[in-house]
Symmetry: C2
Subunit: 377 residues, 2 copies
Amino acid sequence: MKSLFKSIEEKFYDKETPYLVIDLENVEEKYNILKHYLPFSEVYYAVKSNPHFEVLGLLNKLGSNFDIASIYELDRILSIGVCPDRISYGNTIKKSMDIKYFYDNGVRLFVTDSHEDLIKIAKNAPGSDIFFRLYLDNSGADWPLSKKFGTCSDNILSLVEEAKKMGLNPYGLSFHVGSQQKDIEQWDMALCLCKNIFDICKKNGYPLSMLNLGGGLPAQYLMKDHNNVNLYFSFIKKYLIKHFGKNLPRILIEPGRYMVAESGILVTSVILNTKKNDNDFYRWLYIDAGKFNGLIETLNECIKYPILTNRKGKKVEMIIAGPTCDSLDILYEDNKYLLSENLCEGDKVYFMSTGAYTSSYSSVEFNGFPPIKTYFL
Amino acid sequence: MKSLFKSIEEKFYDKETPYLVIDLENVEEKYNILKHYLPFSEVYYAVKSNPHFEVLGLLNKLGSNFDIASIYELDRILSIGVCPDRISYGNTIKKSMDIKYFYDNGVRLFVTDSHEDLIKIAKNAPGSDIFFRLYLDNSGADWPLSKKFGTCSDNILSLVEEAKKMGLNPYGLSFHVGSQQKDIEQWDMALCLCKNIFDICKKNGYPLSMLNLGGGLPAQYLMKDHNNVNLYFSFIKKYLIKHFGKNLPRILIEPGRYMVAESGILVTSVILNTKKNDNDFYRWLYIDAGKFNGLIETLNECIKYPILTNRKGKKVEMIIAGPTCDSLDILYEDNKYLLSENLCEGDKVYFMSTGAYTSSYSSVEFNGFPPIKTYFL
């Protein structure tokens, strides 16, 4: 790890902190591991997790497909030469004109979870392949997804029938177990529910042929409270066969966090290491990145990044806060971090596993601070 | 109100939602009201609340001074011709090189709340005027500030002495009662504590001569659970005289939210109005602005914006959510809003009082969506 920091410091010696470094080799490794363990699955990378051209270009080269949330992401993906048949419009919340924009650009794969959305798709993307998002309650996820997305099994059966009548192709199902899901059995339950819908649809004369497993695969953060991701793969495979047998439907998977999180190191500097009052128990460590320039997933201290420094000395529990004049911009207060009490202004503080949901979340200029810059190893 | 919407729709008929409209006349009115009620105070506008050049230019013309959080805000303020003696560096978290940058550009007024920060100021901004931020616990505020900022009275007494010994000018005190403070008596308590520090410092041979009242004045949001702001002014004046007598120290005030919030209307459109399941009790209203493009202060549903539409029909309680594939991007779920059940795709939804802490908080491109655009009436 020290040699990694050294190579970062040598390569980016002239860059001002904070900045994000992405190791593209790590992304390639993750892609290959996934294809190794789930060779039958088609990867639809969730572009929102890290939309940098370098990442997209690499994944395109490796053969990945792309799951897209907006017309802006579509423009980006098309600009690197991806064929529209390798794209799914995976946002259940879409404007009519955006559906038309996807359709006019050749995309034929759309998600839905509501009657009102389906009408818009039928009108603006006639004949397209539709997959229906099943609502799951996401217990066990560090970043659960709530009722904002998905609908119940019963409603899906109605939507399938409706889609057919509207001239669309009811094609498959999707679900999402919640981001950073720790409980592998969530996939077992989800697949059981999906198989049931597959069976009923077949009986009703609307056979489905695609299953989208969504995302949810975990990345390595501070808490070691989940199994190695390779175990996830073997169990997902086992559950798939348990419920669907050897003749699997077409399988899609939408990794985002899994694919890019561990490729990123956010390099920050200490601004101030102080006790707010002489009689305080904890020290406050103020650094030059915070919730508004890269670390928004520390909201409610949900994602606990591993944090490393090179400073020696007695380690004490510290509260960590960002540089803005906003009290919300405290990263960790309930979960103190053990760091050297000798940390000084200018000392580097490395936030590991920051490749996902960091740079694109940055604010444009809160407190005047510019968005986080990204460099590539 | 309807005529205001009509004039917005006429003037911006060719703009795509979402966008923010700022009424500069409203900002001017707020400035004049403040100067009318507190004529002895010097306004230091908190630039972070809305850093648009049009707002800054107007306030500069009106004679406002500026409270600044970063070197980037400093560049912006200097670029419109503001003299450095009308600027305070109001962030307690500063890099040494940033302090030097302010000093080299002529700024001589700095806040501090820690020994470590004071050493940096002494080295990089020798001889400057220093004000010390007193910690308050912010009960009664909708957006409290926590222990991230400020230090206790005892520590301030040490810092004052230390500053003097370092060749700085211990000049005054500041406090912040918390943003959107509903309890006017918080100012009474704060001023009592400040007067005590003034007295002790005078006795110790370090007389202070400036008092910075911070921000905290409320803007009109949905909850009518605070008094009219004019009452705040008269009580603040009363408390000042109660504690400091007729010979007030130099008084600074740092309004942000008060100055600009009510000048803003965020114009959004309905994407989808649906029930997630047939048997659900509440409807979901999905609109094209959310937490990541303008409405981040809906976090924990802290700030409840008044929301208006022109759509007629039976009003029902709705959950409101933004357009991204992120479950965090739900604006109001615990606090439902009564809106017409007939709202259709494309209907405008107006978020009132959105002039503060909206556009500069926008993410650069989360889910690909661009930052919110701002226009001026």
